[in-house]
Symmetry: C2
Subunit: 262 residues, 2 copies
DNA sequence: AAGTGGTCTAGACCACCAC
DNA sequence: TGGTGGTCTAGACCACTTA
């Protein structure tokens, strides 16, 4: 086979490149099995570790996933649309999960979620955006959302404790009309939100919580909800595995048609 | 040292975990050097490959970067804000690069860009969003933007060839008033845009073009620009390395305060 | 020139699970 | 229970780049 030990590229990269090509040109379709490590060592006449290095590279690129003891398989990415704007749209009275449900159940997939409420000293990220003083606490509603029993993403909403004490927000149950409505009822209507997306590899904790395999990055999505006066009253922290989401939103022209920047 | 061969976790994971902890608790600050492979094999009494596997894992998590022959170093993530909304804001007559420049030069960093124009059969992603028939061609303006001489992101704008033939868009130069304005002048004013973000590892090509090291994912940002009639006239394809960008935008309430979804 | 990580080999034992 | 990938060892040679 055409691997050369004197080539510009290391042998393992040449092997990885050949496999990559097979995947891209459709020779190896999503879901199909790659050659085993043993087959590669045989075919290219290299040590097993060399073949392994090639496969490991593909795993870290997110192209391939190992499924012991059946072999390595070409990954099948089928991300679903995730619409941060959705939450500023009016909607009928319905369980808190509605949006998520409406977005995804159309596919015939079974949505589910777990809710957990805690009073915490929030992470620095959140503290800063909520303008919390030292030692000031927050309530967090932590959710993991599932699709067909598989974890899909996490959604942790933080509220300053002093604003939501003794409201429904403190109870680990679905809030039929939405937590934002509860906030509005106690005088903190949100009229603006700031969205930030960080793209990075998951921490081991995140990987565990969401069953994220190697080679799968995440979007770390922060939303800061503000009142008319610009007071932050809510920070949401979402972790969206890249292989399961497409983040989508829509924009409309805000200004007169005098100028349109590229 | 406390690595046990009979532990639940493989030795290399235990080593990785100790290093990870040192990084997170500030013992190893961003920019500082990790122990060398030789030092780790000595300290933990393991084979070099085992120490290496621990370090490689941290590299693939994006925590650490190897800088031969100086050793491994803790990475320093300093992403800049990237605001897709910016382009729908009015702005003064100025070079095409202005937005990018205004966004980033405040930091005292030197922005630059390269432009390249080509007539191509666009990728499927683009073709579909532009509603191009089979064999119908497009013009692409490919840009790489730099900051302090380092590649920062790529920005490829596609236009249906039939719409922009003989316009400035065909010329590989900065368009002072912006390509969108040119489009508007020939009758294709954009009033809406659809944004999609995919989060994934870079392809080897992307990694090369943008000098992306291992363990760094990208956001693949697609913008489809639509006219009043809903005709797509522009598709932009951005590749944003995760270690250099924070994607940010703002939302305002669109509906009456009857309902506020969480 | 020395020391670093990069590559590669050859071999061993093990845990897991589909068949 | 066989075959798979996961882990680990011990050693070798090389390429690079900074000091």
């Amino acid at each position: 086979m055409p691997v050369s030990r004197r080539g510009q590229l290391p042998v393992w990269q040449q092997i990885a490149e050949e496999l990559r090509t097979s995947i891209n040109d459709g020779t190896l379709l999503p879901g199909s099995r790659l050659p085993t490590e043993a087959e590669l060592t045989e075919r290219y006449q290299v040590a097993r570790n060399t073949a392994r290095q090639a496969l490991t590279a593909l795993v870290n690129e997110g192209l391939v996933t190992p499924a012991r003891p059946r072999g390595y398989f070409v990954r099948d990415r089928k991300p679903l649309y995730y619409r941060p704007q959705q939450e500023f749209r009016p909607r009928p009275l319905s369980p808190e999960m509605d949006i998520f449900l409406a977005e995804h159940s159309a596919d015939g997939r079974q949505p589910a979620q777990s809710i957990e409420v805690a009073i915490v000293d929030p992470p620095r990220d959140v503290k800063k955006r909520l303008n919390l003083g030292d030692g000031e606490l927050a309530v967090v509603r932590r959710r993991v959302r599932y699709l067909d029993g598989e974890p899909f993403h996490t959604n942790d909403s933080y509220f300053p404790l002093r604003l939501v004490q003794d409201t429904e927000i403190m109870r680990p149950e679905d809030i039929a009309r939405g937590a934002n409505q509860v906030l509005a009822e106690v005088g903190y209507l949100q009229v603006r939100a700031l969205d930030e997306f960080y793209v990075r590899m998951p921490t081991p904790d995140e990987a565990r919580r969401l069953s994220i395999g190697p080679g799968t990055p995440i979007a770390y999505h922060l939303v800061t909800g503000l009142t008319e006066e610009g007071q932050p009253v809510r920070v949401v922290l979402n972790v969206l595995p890249g292989d399961r989401h497409v983040i989508a939103f829509e924009r409309t022209r805000v200004a007169l048609p005098t100028q349109a920047a590229e």
